[in-house]
């Protein structure tokens, strides 16, 4: 069922920054319906969630999470920390253990003292923290391989952008269901850079 819409999302940690990237294709099995589909959503300027899998569940889950985060902001008068947000997503997904949302989220954010935080989960909320990179989507197997070889610790934002873009573009080239460009977000403590990549449109 993850292969209904096709997706590829990856996040990497750099030096005091992180990058999260996704492909842009929305398909219905083998037919492409859109080439500008948004998979990476902002929760607050220092916290992003990328949702791969079934597109309708991704959008529903994003809307519910924004709802919960806004309530949190009203009650606590501050933004949620990435670790807390990851636990929230995990609990929401596990609540649907026997009838799950068909999504694999990737959460990336700058936590306390701007320390980058990334994690991914399976569709029922099993959290998997990582210090280097996390991947999800139909292209995940190629992404694992590409990231394992291309990743280096402590990369500066520009180098991190290049690395994550190359890893994403080379992996989606090996996956029929994802691709049609890329969307990369690089977040440092002071600014957020969004770039749209030119990729193979096939």
């Amino acid at each position: 069922i993850f292969e209904y819409n096709g997706s590829a999302v990856v996040a990497m940690v750099g030096k005091n920054c992180f990058a999260i990237a996704s492909d842009r294709r929305l398909g219905v099995q083998l037919q492409t319906v859109a080439t500008d589909f948004q998979r990476v959503f902002e929760i607050h300027p220092k916290l992003y969630i990328g949702l791969s899998g079934l597109a309708s569940d991704a959008q529903t889950l994003y809307q519910r999470l924004v709802f919960k985060h806004k309530l949190y902001q009203l009650r606590e008068e501050r933004d949620m920390k990435p670790e807390t947000f990851a636990s929230l997503v995990s609990a929401m997904l596990y609540e649907k253990r026997f009838g799950p949302y068909f999504c694999q989220p990737i959460i990336a954010g700058l936590g306390q003292d701007d320390v980058p935080f990334i994690c991914t989960m399976d569709c029922i909320g099993a959290k998997e923290l990582a210090k280097d990179f996390v991947v999800s989507g139909t292209a995940s197997e190629s992404l694992y391989g590409a990231c394992e070889s291309m990743y280096k610790p402590n990369m500066e934002p520009d180098e991190l952008f290049e690395t994550i873009s190359q890893a994403l573009l080379s992996s989606v080239d090996r996956d029929c269901l994802s691709g049609w460009g890329g969307y990369v977000l690089v977040v440092t403590p002071t600014e957020v850079t969004e770039r749209v990549l030119k990729g193979r449109m096939d």
């Binding site: 026997f98 009838g99 998997e128 190359q166 969004e194």
Partner: protein
């Protein structure tokens, strides 16, 4: 799904998507696989307490999803639990029982007992008739002494001096059966557990990476994360990949400055654009 947003969740599982998922499955779409923990988990009782051990590989089908995950979960300061099976289930069930134990400690002002954790786990798992797929090795030391139990997904339990669970359990059990004896010292216990987990790591495909060990005694607990790392990366490229900046073709760029974030305890609220979200 009328009304599902407004009502606050009462806890427990929610089944509202089941009908939709059954419909999708009938129209031919394959159900997803969950993150499993393949695994070798072991425990043994030694002279002064209990030693628990686990490998650190998490698998998603044949792919290794996490090379260094933590399978020894905290239940109480004197009780730890290793989990095998579906990763989300082991984490959720151990977190839930850990919270229940803490509430119980507050209510009774006493140190938690291992049998309390055991009963809470087995009743939860039996209630879900094995659908919550968590196979656990629970160990701890309380006022009545050291205890080691195994809990199966359907809710049955065993009390043993040494135990193994998971796909690598046969490999680990062979090590225990040949080398275990009563009254082991702490060093012997740790060595035996590390050997058993290593047997699982090298012989079972579902287990791998490093060895985690946890020693629980009357005096306290010691969690030796990555006690042994018998599988270092050997294929590191000395130069690494280096992409020159400007290498990737970019269609458009947008840079947004992050304004001052709303401070936790500050009385001054920062500019509106940070808090206001783009509405849907």
């Amino acid at each position: 799904m009328a009304g599902s947003m407004e009502l606050p969740a009462k806890g427990g599982f929610s089944f509202d998507l089941c009908r939709r998922n059954a419909m999708l499955e009938k129209s031919g779409l394959k159900m997803p696989g969950f993150l499993k923990t393949g695994t070798t988990i072991v425990g043994l009782v030694f002279k002064d307490g209990v030693v628990l051990g686990a490998d650190t590989r998490a698998t998603e089908g044949p792919i290794v999803a996490d090379k260094n995950c933590e399978k020894i979960h905290f239940m109480a300061p004197n009780i730890y639990c290793c989990g095998a099976g579906t990763a989300a289930d082991t984490e959720a069930v151990t977190d839930m029982v850990s919270s229940q134990l803490q509430l119980h400690r507050y209510a009774t002002s006493r140190e938690s007992r291992v049998v309390t954790a055991l009963t809470l786990l087995k009743t939860h798992l039996f209630n879900y008739q094995g659908h919550v797929s968590a196979a656990l090795v629970l160990g701890g030391v309380d006022v009545t002494g050291p205890h080691l139990h195994t809990v199966y997904p359907h809710g049955s339990t065993d009390t043993l001096p040494f135990a193994t669970m998971g796909s690598g359990s046969l490999a680990a059990m062979s090590v225990f059966e040949s080398k275990y004896k009563e009254g082991l010292t702490r060093e012997e216990g740790i060595q035996l557990v590390a050997d058993a987990i290593s047997a699982g790591i090298f012989n079972d495909l579902g287990s791998g990476s490093n060895v985690d060990v946890c020693v629980i005694t009357q005096g306290g607990t010691e969690y030796l994360r990555n006690h042994k790392e018998p599988n270092p990366r050997t294929y590191v490229s000395s130069k690494g990949f280096s992409f020159t900046p400007g290498h990737t073709e970019v269609l458009s760029t947008r840079i947004t400055q992050i304004g001052p974030v709303v401070a936790e305890a500050g009385p001054v609220v920062a500019e509106g654009d940070v808090i206001m979200e783009e509405g849907l």
